[in-house]
């Protein structure tokens, strides 16, 4: 007998269709556990997966916005994906994740919107210069005990802006740069690229060399590739970088980019993050 082991992300993406079209049952995956609840990137990937699995889907993802309205509990959830508008070549989605409360009622935990489109071949250009960095295999992998499970799901080879070794309050810039891929390696697709878009540790920790409670509030991903381009990447590394532009009274922004090893910009992604102090 052959025992086939599925990748933990693919296990997480196993959404079970319910009686109503576009409604799915799922749950956080322990392999993507965070301090409390699951890694937001894995949850964002599950939100997109509900769109990808929907029988009425038209085209491929162009944009995704995920709003983390409350902490996802380590408990089953339902995702409802709804095609709010279907045009000739684009489709607009609303997606909601709900979980049961202790009293048996259900609450909205995440809201999301997505745009899918049937792309046509057009003129194109990539204007964001790829940072000059050493090749992935020339950069040491970060090691050491991680505080949370999901960190083990990524092979990270830091190039700049590593997590502070001393929490001494020394201010610095907020730029991080790293080579990264799934661990175990897994062929890149829209779901894994979505999860990878949230792979950066909190910018405010780097900026201040100080830990403060944080939580992503809203996250947007723009996809600059079709499934063919993602398939070309295979299980290769992505060059990923992120930085913040403003920290103001409890919320900071983060803008990030993900390129393939071949230098193709696959996604640009932005988020706004709560920080306590």
């Amino acid at each position: 007998m052959t025992h086939v082991t599925q990748h933990p992300l693919d296990e997480a993406l196993q959404l079970q269709p319910l009686d109503i079209e576009g409604h799915y049952a799922g749950s956080p995956h322990a392999a993507y556990g965070n301090m409390v609840g699951p890694f937001g990137g894995a949850t964002a990937a599950q939100m997109l997966q509900a769109v990808l699995q929907h029988p009425a889907r038209l085209g491929e993802p162009v944009a995704l916005t995920v709003n983390f309205a409350a902490g996802v509990k380590d408990a089953p959830f339902r995702i409802e994906a709804h095609p709010a508008r279907t045009n000739r070549s684009t489709q607009h989605w609303t997606v909601t994740l709900l979980q049961a409360e202790d009293d048996g009622s259900e609450s909205t935990v995440i809201t999301a919107t997505a745009v899918t489109a049937v792309r046509r071949t057009t003129w194109g250009a990539q204007d964001l210069a790829v940072p000059k960095v050493p090749a992935a295999n020339e950069v040491a992998r970060s090691t050491g005990a991680s505080m949370v499970r999901w960190i083990e799901r990524y092979e990270m080879r830091p190039l700049a802006g590593t997590i502070p070794s001393q929490w001494d309050g020394a201010e610095s810039d907020s730029l991080s740069r790293l080579w990264v891929r799934d661990d175990p390696p897994r062929p890149l697709d829209f779901a894994s690229l979505t999860a990878l878009s949230d792979v950066f540790f909190p910018r405010v920790w780097l900026r201040r060399a100080r830990m403060t409670p944080i939580g992503t509030v809203s996250m947007t991903v723009y996809f600059h590739a079709s499934s063919a381009e993602l398939a070309e990447v295979g299980d290769g590394y992505l060059l990923a970088q992120a930085r913040s532009q403003a920290f103001f009274n409890g919320f900071f922004d983060q803008s990030a980019e993900l390129w393939s090893e071949a230098g193709r910009l696959l996604a640009t992604t932005h988020q706004v993050v709560y920080y306590k102090e």
Copy 2:
């Protein structure tokens, strides 16, 4: 008798409460007319306005995502704003704009999500350097006939990346920079800042010195100020800049920033835009 003339944006923001809480009647404003339908920034401001007007609103806007699912017609619409989740200090909103079809049915034209929050005073920093530019009053206002009404609603003083004078297909970078404020001048608030976030002409036109049909598909605004900081700006100019990072098979992204004259970063904003060829 005194005749009080209201600012066109304030006229556009007059949403009439309907029988159901959070449902409002409104319409595009002719003063913000675009080639077809209204200027997207004005529509985005109306979507936010439905949240701002909602009796259950908690706090002030932190993030807004508006998805332009179809062209808004120059006809009445209904906006439905719904607080999907209310926490102690944050609130997550879903907002929908609907218009009647010719057959009398109603269709979703725009979907949106917003996050509002009661901000607490925390450590803060602004990391994005303000570009060094001449003062607004030292820069000539752009003049000449505009193709569309909404352009007249903004006093624009271009600094870099002006709309091509020759459509000769000469490629250039996609950066535009300008001083801009409402015309007539109007004290800045969240609604007008939202509209201003969409004030840039299409990056692909600048990038290629070539006109092609375009349409914003999804737009996100992150607010880095409270109403107090916006009030300080009054009807002063904003320094605004925008550029693209990738153009791929029918969709390009745009990232932009808006600072006050005093150099405060008020908003960062991102969008993904359809282009035909």
